[in-house]
Amino acid sequence: MSEPVSALNGAVSEGFATIREIGPLGMVTLRCKADVKALPKAIKAAVGTGVPAVRRIVVEGDRACGWMSPDEYLLVMPYAAVPAVLDAVAQAMGKEHHLAVDVSDARAVFRVEGAKAEQVLAKLSPVDFARLEPGELRRTRAAQVAAAFWREGDGFTVVCFRSVARYVFDLLATSAKPGSELS
């Protein structure tokens, strides 16, 4: 079997912030209502975290669980761990109504890093970064396409759809061009 290839095969751009495509990264969409009893157990078994609060992401090593909507969670894990995660969720959820589906290949993931990483995103998304709370997962748009991001380490992790990976990479790289710092 061939090795999985991420959308841009690890492209990098250096500007006043560094843009790196990372991945392939394992991602599972879990749709389930918050009040389902088996949910905490399923998330714990899948990625080892608790259930995130509204608009939060809980990161635990190389795994995470993010709140996407009142009945949707994003599970993040190493790419190779996806089948095991799907099994774990299925087992924990049992007959409870839910949907767990592998979306690893439907996404592209970027790291925007550097002291001014925030300014790169402030040019693309209508988000008040001063009010972005710790651990907040913000779903919004980046210029003309849907995106989600959260603060992590020295910058942000940005997720978008795979088909527009080149567009988003070019957007981020353009926004990070030296000389265009906002402050």
Binding site: V54, R55, P126, R139, A146
Partner: protein, 107 residues
Amino acid sequence: MLLLECPYCGVKAEETELSPGYEAHLKRFGPGSTDEEFEAYMFARKNPKGVHFERWRHSYGCGKWFLAARCTATLEVFGTYPAQVGEPPADIIEKIKARRPDWKGYK
């Protein structure tokens, strides 16, 4: 450009993060309905200058549909609320009545 708070995720979303869904609280009429009922469901819209109830989808956010009560003339927003209701919540009705004493109600 409007700013509406999504009642599901709490984001104060600007209009570019939302998709409009036009008038709220319509009753669906399917097979068996009269021509008049079906016409009212498909085509008859209030389009008021004043208090109005609308559907909006937080399409670039949590993806959920919600409803908004606002004044189309002044753009005052009386409130937003989840879509899974048959009629506007009582607290929003009260707020509108306080702000617009002449308001005739949403029906």
